[in-house]
C-alpha cells in the first residue's frame, strides 16, 4: 500500500490521504473522556519503547554498521518528529503576531515597536525564502541587508555584550566575603592570569622545568583546569545523569502525576 506514486496517481493518493486524515481526526474527537488519559499514556510509552528497544535489542552485522530490526526506522522517525516540530513553529508565530497585532490595532502604548516587529518579520520571510525562488537581484540585496547587515550583526553584538556583563558581575561578586567567595575569586584570578601574556609575564623568570615549573602561573592555571575542575565537574555530571534518567523513567512510564497534566481531561 505504501508505495511511491507519481503523476495523477500521486494527487489521487494525496487527496485520499487527506480524506482519511479528516476522518481519523474526527474519530479522535469522539474518544470518550475516560479513555483519553490511557491513550496518551500508551502513545508516550510506545514512542519511548521504540527507542529503548532499538538500543537494547541485540545487534548483528559488521563492526562499523551494526543494526537490529528497528535501526532502519530510527532516521525516518526522527525526521518526522523534526518535521512535526517545524509545523509547531506556527504556534509561536501565532502567539507573537497576535499579541503585537492587537497592540497595533488598538494603538496601545508602544504600538510602533510592535509594527516594527511585524514588518521586519515579513521582510525577512520575503528575503530569505524569496532568495531560494526568485532570481532577480533585489531579493538577494534585501537578504544581504536583512540577514548579513542586521540579523548577523545583531547576533554578534548581543553575544559580545556578555563581555561587559562579565566585568560587572566579576566586580560585584568577587569579594572576600566568605571562605567560598574567596576560593572562587582566587581560582578565577589564577586562571585569568594564566591565560594572558601579561599574567604569564609575572612568573616568566621561573624556569619551566622540573619542580619549579609548578610555580609558573600558566601551569598552575592548567593544573586547576585539568586536575581540580574535571573531577568536580564529573561528579556533578554523575548526579545530573542519574537525575535525568530518573526523570525520563517517570515521564515514560507516566508515574508522575501532578506536575503537568494536572487537570481532568
Amino acid at each position: 500500500m505504501f508505495q511511491v506514486q507519481h503523476g495523477a496517481a500521486l494527487y489521487t493518493y494525496i487527496a485520499g490521504a487527506a480524506v482519511v486524515s479528516v476522518i481519523l481526526f474526527f474519530a479522535l474527537t469522539l474518544v470518550p473522556t475516560k479513555l483519553r488519559r490511557p491513550l496518551i499514556m500508551a502513545v508516550t510509552f510506545a514512542a519511548g519503547l521504540f527507542y529503548a528497544l532499538e538500543f537494547f535489542w541485540p545487534v548483528s552485522g559488521p563492526e562499523s554498521d551494526q543494526k537490529n530490526f528497528l535501526t532502519a526506522y530510527i532516521k525516518p522517525f526522527s525526521d518526522i518528529t523534526t518535521v512535526l516540530q517545524s509545523f509547531a513553529l506556527g504556534l509561536g508565530v501565532y502567539s507573537l503576531v497576535s499579541i503585537h497585532m492587537r497592540k497595533v490595532a488598538r494603538t496601545q502604548s508602544g504600538w510602533a515597536y510592535s509594527l516594527v516587529l511585524i514588518v521586519s518579520m515579513i521582510v525577512m520571510v520575503i528575503a530569505h525564502i524569496g532568495k531560494e525562488y526568485i532570481k532577480s537581484p533585489w531579493v538577494h540585496q534585501l537578504n544581504d541587508f536583512a540577514y548579513s547587515g542586521l540579523m548577523k550583526s545583531l547576533d554578534a553584538t548581543m553575544f559580545s555584550i556578555i563581555a561587559f556583563y562579565i566585568v560587572s558581575a566579576a566586580y560585584r561578586a568577587f569579594r572576600i566575603r566568605s571562605t567560598e567567595a574567596t576560593i572562587l575569586l582566587v581560582s578565577a584570578g589564577i586562571i585569568m592570569l594564566g591565560q594572558v601574556a601579561i599574567g604569564q609575564a609575572i612568573t616568566n623568570a621561573i624556569p619551566n622545568e622540573g619542580l619549579t615549573a609548578n610555580f609558573r602561573v600558566e601551569n598552575m592555571a592548567n593544573w586547576i583546569l585539568k586536575k581540580v575542575n574535571s573531577p568536580a565537574i564529573m561528579a556533578i555530571d554523575f548526579g545530573l545523569g542519574v537525575g535525568g534518567l530518573a526523570t525520563a523513567l517517570r515521564l515514560w512510564l507516566s508515574l508522575e502525576r501532578g506536575s503537568y497534566f494536572e487537570e481532568e481531561l
Partner: protein
Amino acid sequence: MRIPQLDRRVLYMLLAIVVSIPLLVNVPLPPPAITPPTKSFYETIETVSTDPKTKDKLVIISCNFGSGTLAENLSQLEATLNHIVSKRMKFAIFAFNDPQGRDLGGSTAQRIADKAGYKYGKDWVNWGFRPPQGIQSLLKAMVNDLHGALGTDVKGTKLSAIPMMANYKKADDVGLIIEYAASDTVKYWVQFFQRAGSTPIATLFCPTSVMANEAYPMLETGQLQGMLVGLKGANEFETVMKRPGFATRASASLSYSHLLIILLIILGNVGMIQDRKRQQGATK
C-alpha cells in the same frame, strides 16, 4: 584615600576603552608562553613543508567561521597563512559551514597572496562555499576526484581549467588540512577525508577557545597534529614565527582587559574593606 564603589556604566566605559586602544595603536606586550599544541602545530607545518613527499602537495584552508568569531578565527588565519605562503606552499580556500567563511577567507588570502606575489589559479585557489547538509557525501566524493566533486571555483571556473589544479586530483595530492572553525566541523575532515587516501593527511585545527576543550582528546589520539587555541594560540604562533600581526595586537586587548578585571576586583575588595572598617568605627 577612600575608594568608592564604581557604577556599572563606568566599568563598561573602561572596558570599551581598554579593548579599543590596542586596536588603534601598538601597545607593548610581553611574549606569551608557548603551549604544546601550538608547538606541534608549528612543527607539523615545518615537517610537511620540508618533507620531499609532502612539500609539493596542496594545503586545504578550510574557513568555517563567520563574523561572530572574527577576532579569534581571522587572527589564526592571518598568522598561519603568512607562514604557509612563506614556505611557498600552494593552497585552496574552502568553506562548508558559513558562506561568510568563504568571503572572509577569500579576502584575507587575496591580501596575503598579493603581498607574497602569489598568483590566483597558479599558486592559490578559492573553491568557495558548499552547503553543510551535503558535506559528508561531498568529502567522500572528494577523496577520489577533487575536480568532479567540487566542480567549479568561487568565480565559476571549472577546476580542471585552473592550471594549479592539474596536479591536485585526489586526497593523495593533499598534504595538509587546516581547519578554522567556530564549531566542531573538523570532525568531518577526520571522519571522511583524513584517512581515506593511501596515506593519512596531517590535520591542524584552529578552534575558538570555547571549542578547544572538546578537541584536546583528538590531539591525544593522534587525529589532530596540532591546535591553535583561539586568539591566544594565534598570538603564540606569531611569537614563534617572530612576525607580530593582528593576533598580537588583539592579544594586547585581551591581556589588558583581563588586567582591568583583576584591577577592578582588587579595587572593589579594598573599597569593601574600607567601608566595613568605617562602619565598625561608626558603631563604636
